[in-house]
């Protein structure tokens, strides 16, 4: 069996091609899903990729939340389907209330693009089982509205339940509360993060690694984690 992972394209999505490519490189079939689709075409998991859906009008992710496909994604997520939101996809997941908190403009106000070191804080989510707890990975980060915010009780809840999935290591590039780069839901099937694992999946096109330039593939295990989990339960 081959796992089928859907990648959603909203008007203004940029990274759907890269996300689909990452899915294929990890060994699954990538299925294109369109914002106006009313069904998930029988996929086993869904990726909401990065970009500027609906031009980021109103708030990042605010309008994408009401796309027809999102109703199906929310239902499937509640049923336990693995859902990964990357960058703008993370913003959509907070707007649709699958994940708590929200993103506001970066503290320093600038768009930022760099290779970012993260610590994997929870290696038990559907998208992180192929990492070790505490493992440090490097994947690209590129955003302007990447400052994760939530009230103190929500932050305490996330910390207490082990739902901070990724934290920035070293300088916090967005001003995010408690250096949070990504979080997960209670069940661990929904994960959202600002940095981009789909841009670090093939040597020659990834961030610099310790060995050589552009050879970093630390993002691939997001996708192999999900595929392994899907095949184990199939």
């Amino acid at each position: 069996m081959t796992a089928r992972i859907g990648v959603v394209t909203f008007p203004g999505t940029l990274d759907d091609r890269d996300a689909a490519r990452a899915v294929r490189l990890a060994g699954a079939e990538a299925v294109n899903l369109f914002h106006a689709d009313a069904d998930l075409k029988g996929v086993d998991a869904v990726v909401l990729p990065g970009g500027f859906s609906y031009g980021d009008y109103l708030r990042a992710g605010a309008i994408a939340r009401f796309a027809p496909i999102m109703e199906k994604v929310v239902d499937a997520a509640h049923g336990g389907m693995p859902v990964l939101g990357i960058c703008n996809g993370f913003q959509v997941l907070t707007e649709v209330h699958l994940l708590p908190g929200s993103m506001i403009k970066n503290e320093h106000l600038h768009f930022i693009c760099r290779d970012q070191t993260l610590r994997v804080e929870n290696a038990e989510t559907a998208w992180t089982t192929e990492y070790q707890d505490g493992e440090e990975i490097v994947i690209p980060l590129k955003n302007q509205d990447g400052q994760y915010v939530a009230d103190e009780s929500t932050l305490d809840m996330l910390e207490g339940e082990g739902r901070v999935a990724f934290r920035y290591v070293g300088w916090n590039p967005n001003g995010s509360r408690r250096d949070i780069a990504g979080i997960t839901n209670e069940r661990g099937n929904v994960v959202g993060l600002m940095p981009h694992p789909e841009h670090a999946v093939e040597a020659g096109f990834g961030p610099d690694s310790r060995e050589a330039g552009r050879t970093g593939t630390d993002g691939l295990a997001f996708f192999t984690s999900a595929i392994k989990g899907l095949l184990a339960t199939a």
Partner: protein, 85 residues
Amino acid sequence: MATILVHVMPKPEILDPQGKAVGAALPRLGFEGVAQVRQGKRFELTIDGEVTDEVLAKVREAAETLLSNPVIEDVVEVTVAQEPA
């Protein structure tokens, strides 16, 4: 036709980076003495027909669900605009 105004502001406890940047630019233009700037949004919703209590209730609901994100923003005011003279 009537217009309903919805004002949305970042929550007081949320740092407002845009307001901060605007505040930092004011002295450069010679505007001194502004202690703080916070930047929000104003929406103008032009309504077909009369603004009934029901219409206002619907607009308030839209303001809380789409026009603002209650995690980071407050709807500070929903009012009916005065008819132009």
